[in-house]
Symmetry: C2
Subunit: 351 residues, 2 copies
Amino acid sequence: MTVHQVEPYNAEPPRSVLVDAVTPVSAFYSRNHGPVPAADEESWRLRVDGLVTTPLSLSPADLRERFPERTETATLQCAGNRRAGLVAVKDIPGEAPWGPTATATAAWTGVRLADVLAAAGVSDTATDVEFLGADVSPQADPPQEFGGSIPLRKAGMPEVLLAWAMNGEPLPPVHGAPLRVVVPGYIGARSVKWVHRVRVTDAPSPNFFQASTYRLLPPDAEVTATPGEGVELGLVAVNSDFLTPDDDAEVPAGPTGVTGYAFAGGDRTIVRVDVSADGGSTWTQAELGEQASTWAWRHWDATVDVPHGEVELLARAWDSSAALQPERPEQVWNPKGYVNNSWARLRLRGV
Amino acid sequence: MTVHQVEPYNAEPPRSVLVDAVTPVSAFYSRNHGPVPAADEESWRLRVDGLVTTPLSLSPADLRERFPERTETATLQCAGNRRAGLVAVKDIPGEAPWGPTATATAAWTGVRLADVLAAAGVSDTATDVEFLGADVSPQADPPQEFGGSIPLRKAGMPEVLLAWAMNGEPLPPVHGAPLRVVVPGYIGARSVKWVHRVRVTDAPSPNFFQASTYRLLPPDAEVTATPGEGVELGLVAVNSDFLTPDDDAEVPAGPTGVTGYAFAGGDRTIVRVDVSADGGSTWTQAELGEQASTWAWRHWDATVDVPHGEVELLARAWDSSAALQPERPEQVWNPKGYVNNSWARLRLRGV
């Protein structure tokens, strides 16, 4: 793993380990904002309150007993994924230069948030559902538990889980044991780990990590922590990158197989990926792999003709609304370095 | 109105009439694939069948009596909106060169499709809901009623209506009287007019206007009517254009107010619009108007400095996933000329 930070632990794997439909747990990126909290499954309680008729306090065992178990294969993607491409345009101080592997896919097992909310009885005035984790972040101002909210409409969808397992194994501590939220199609920050409270509300979360960060600021904005500045992120934008060969690899000149991933976000899927070896003058349509679920990425592969010497390959994905990634990182550069979904670029040397 | 075709009637209004949040019915674009069918409200029946436990046959009066009336403000947008920008890159024979006004917003009144489906009882194996209109299209191969389907997940959402009124008035014949579907966030083709049948199915519609057209073909594809080629359109991609001044207008050089619309599609909203008067070197963030509903466009306005002589203004919108429109029409050109969501361009002459 490339470790961007040891404490809190922030790390991403090499590109090549993401070639499988489901990512090994050991290779799943870690994005944390504070130390991993001590969590004892026996004493853990999930409080469900706010605009509900029956507040609940549920142990992990209660969740298993009271609600049907569900498994969803879903991709998570950090809002800072591919930030390195923005840093190359203009420095972004204080933010980790994530490469293209702050994203991964797991089969998540737990219960539907919708089932738990139905048991609590959601008030007619509710509009949002907030999650709070047990991890206290010293990076927040003031220091606070990591949290965030999603619209009630999304919270009621069957794909949103309170999960205790990934890929059939209990969640490791760093991925949120004993319980985490999984919000498919949304930025990873909304899939709150170590979740101990679900609060039904009538406004988006005032938590630092929603009201003050994970926001798209205009290019010329000062980076401050003033709540409400810029645009709240939530849904993931269509994105893609290369997985093999590695960036800066030497390969034999001539027809060369390349692979990558693409991810659409929301309830969209990937319908097309194009690859170019001539700066975008001509494009080859990649072969698309299986889409394991609406909520998962789609792998792709193509054969391109690599010339002798340096070449930059391009890749660009289209989602099911026929929306195409924007071309250049300069077009999407922003002061916190979120959502670099410009066309993927891979340098190769043909020998 | 600019009439692209008299029979079937296809027409769009001048830009400037779209500046209101809700479009006057008389200025709402018309996109038709066959003659307006004779429709008698007294004898009209909506059949609901397919994968349901209780097939229904409902008169307009039955719909009013059995289900709660709902009104949704929603923008419709033709998949061919802004095709003229693609035609300018490379000719698209046989398709009307729609400008930027094949889109409009109305307050639609009717009943929720979800309520009607609940009354019919949807089978567990259902995945899609097909609509058939009474308009027989001679353009289809073979000639057939206009139709199409949406995923069951969308059909169950509260914003999808079976509507009999727009802007508080009964639907005019050309807009689907006595009954039409309104699918907010989807291409206009799915909001089937003169709807007489709702069929619950386990596959997308085989109708010509879904299986053989309204599909995104690769740039080098031959235009054929082979079902299944290319990518089925459905959700609308983020898009925008200018409304005032008109294209090619003469304006006094100096600070000039410009206005436009932006539309996000699906359940996304518009969070930002940028305008440039120097080819994209610098951008001004536009002021955003109200978003009347999740399903409506958002107007915007900005002041730009118009130099003496010819200038091309640019506008580009961002949706709530932080997805940005792609830059150039060459990047999105396709043989049927759908989904031109490249940056908006407006030529002005400063005098």
